[in-house]
């Protein structure tokens, strides 16, 4: 029964949610809404698992004198510090006006957002280094990639049209509208069929490798 019950639950829930997609009938939607609410609760509780994993590994590295122990200590300080700030603002502790989000917003906007933007901005440099490595005519496919990349880069800037007498943007439009779009759609169709097949196998209980046996 250790295997059969999870499979049965998966099949019943999967079929119920799939049926709710096709049926606007009231009870179908009610079952769907209830299952989604249960899922939301489970996901929220699962956060505790993640935090537990993070704290356990960090404490172990701090106590064992790992070279990164100071970063782990900072991580735990930020994790519980931000949590404490948020809870105190929600409940109005330590003289803070209840519902006041100033401190939370300050930390989020002045620390987290710039760090996030910094990581995102690395893409600009990594695109250049990846393009420098990839756009080399060492084979037929690489040459095609190089030519397509050159056309796209020239077509995207006004200088490209000036150099090519207006042809760059037309080549870009042709490349993106027909060749690129066709390739993307082919990948989308293939991926969609693969998704459908895997989903059907899981919902019908045929795929069980995600369960422990």
């Amino acid at each position: 029964m250790k295997r059969e019950i999870p499979i049965l639950l998966t099949v019943l829930c999967g079929l119920a949610i799939t049926w709710a997609f096709f049926s606007p009938y009231g009870p179908s939607q009610a079952v769907n809404d209830e299952l989604l609410a249960w899922g939301t609760v489970l996901f929220s509780v699962a956060f505790l698992l993640g935090i537990g994993n993070l704290v356990r590994i960090s404490l172990k590295q701090i106590s064992s004198g790992h070279p990164d122990r100071y970063y782990k200590a900072l991580l735990l300080l930020m994790l519980f510090g931000y949590l404490g700030v948020g809870i105190s603002e929600i409940h109005g502790w330590f003289g803070i006006t209840e519902g006041d989000n100033l401190r939370r917003d300050w930390i989020y906007n002045r620390i987290f957002q710039p760090l996030q933007a910094t990581m995102f901005s690395l893409l600009a440099f990594y695109i250049a280094s990846a393009a420098f490595r990839a756009f080399r005519a060492r084979s037929m496919e690489a040459t095609l990639l190089l030519v397509a990349g050159a056309i796209v880069m020239l077509g995207q800037v006004p200088l490209g049209d000036q150099i090519t007498g207006g042809l760059a943007s037309r080549w870009l439009a042709f490349l993106m509208s027909y060749i690129n779009a066709a390739g993307q759609k082919a990948i989308i169709v293939g991926a969609a069929l693969g998704t459908l097949a895997t989903g059907l196998r899981i919902v019908l209980g045929l795929e069980r490798s995600y369960l422990s046996e």
Binding site: P24, N53, L54, R133, V189
Partner: protein, 279 residues
């Protein structure tokens, strides 16, 4: 037929209909796909040979793990950044089990950073099962499945940090990725690891193709377990997808021909009609 449709449209006075008849074609398509899948699976289990072409990225998985073993460095497996409800993430967990079995057989460490807590639970279970499949339950190290952060770029920074500090010899990135894909791939390249990446997210594929040694593209991603295990049920699923694709292509061609034939305006040649419609 009309009586049947009107029955479906009226579950009762003042109540929503049983079935949204507008979604009937979708339901029929799914049922047809399921039927083809069952027939293909049955044929595969009876012993009908279903060939799969060689996929370089999948052959490279063993090579990557072997390289890590020889160099005495860990394997890094990134299962994407989406939640467990995304099919690609579920599929990544199935592949993770195979990779865990291989690394347990070879005695190599496997590090699995995850972005989602539920995915972490699945990943732990997949790695544990992989180690048990290899007959090495002692090879499972719970601290190697690491929840980093639920934020996209915080997770990306964490994985980049693992790549730079722990210097895995092989990076396997299979799952759903977004803007962080190139950062991960380039950081992995700079750390000197062999990289095998795969996703069905078409916008991230170019980054993986440019920065990784091997890329598993789109539908190849869903053929990984069938390719590695050659299990008849899975091979049948691949065959079913190919059959449906063939039917879809045939319908597309017939549709284009009919649309072109019936779209001509008096005085137009077929060539000018084609130009007007598709030029």
């Amino acid at each position: 037929m009309e009586a049947f449709v009107s029955f479906l449209d009226s579950a009762g006075e003042g109540m929503a209909p049983w079935i949204d008849t507008g979604k009937f074609p979708t339901l029929v398509a799914i049922l047809a796909y399921a039927a083809v899948m069952f027939v293909s699976q049955a044929a595969a289990k009876r012993g009908v040979h279903i060939p799969i072409r060689r996929i370089a990225g999948l052959d490279a998985l063993d090579e990557a793990i072997g390289r890590s073993t020889e160099m005495g460095r860990p394997v890094l497996y990134v299962p994407g950044i989406d939640e467990i409800k995304e099919i690609q993430t579920i599929y990544s967990m199935m592949i993770l089990r195979h990779v865990a079995r291989k690394t347990a057989e070879y005695g190599t460490d496997l590090i699995v950073p995850v972005k989602d807590s539920v995915v972490m639970a699945f990943a732990e279970e997949a790695v544990k099962q992989g180690c048990q499949d290899a007959g090495r339950p002692d090879a499972f190290i719970a601290d190697n499945v690491r929840y980093l952060s639920n934020e996209q770029f915080a997770f990306c920074a964490g994985v980049a940090g693992i790549m730079n500090r722990e210097r895995p010899a092989a990076n396997i990135m299979l799952g759903m990725f977004f803007a962080e894909s190139l950062i991960l791939a380039e950081t992995g390249y700079e750390s000197g690891a062999i990289q095998v990446a795969g996703t069905a997210k078409q916008h991230q594929l170019p980054f993986f193709v440019a920065a990784c040694d091997y890329t598993i593209i789109g539908e190849e991603y869903f053929a990984v377990t069938a390719y590695l295990t050659r299990e008849p049920g899975l091979l049948g699923t691949i065959r079913a997808a190919d059959v449906i694709k063939g039917i879809a292509i045939a319908l597309l061609l017939v549709g284009v021909a009919l649309a072109t034939y019936f779209a001509d305006v008096e005085g137009e040649t077929w060539f000018t009609t084609f130009q007007r419609l598709y030029g």
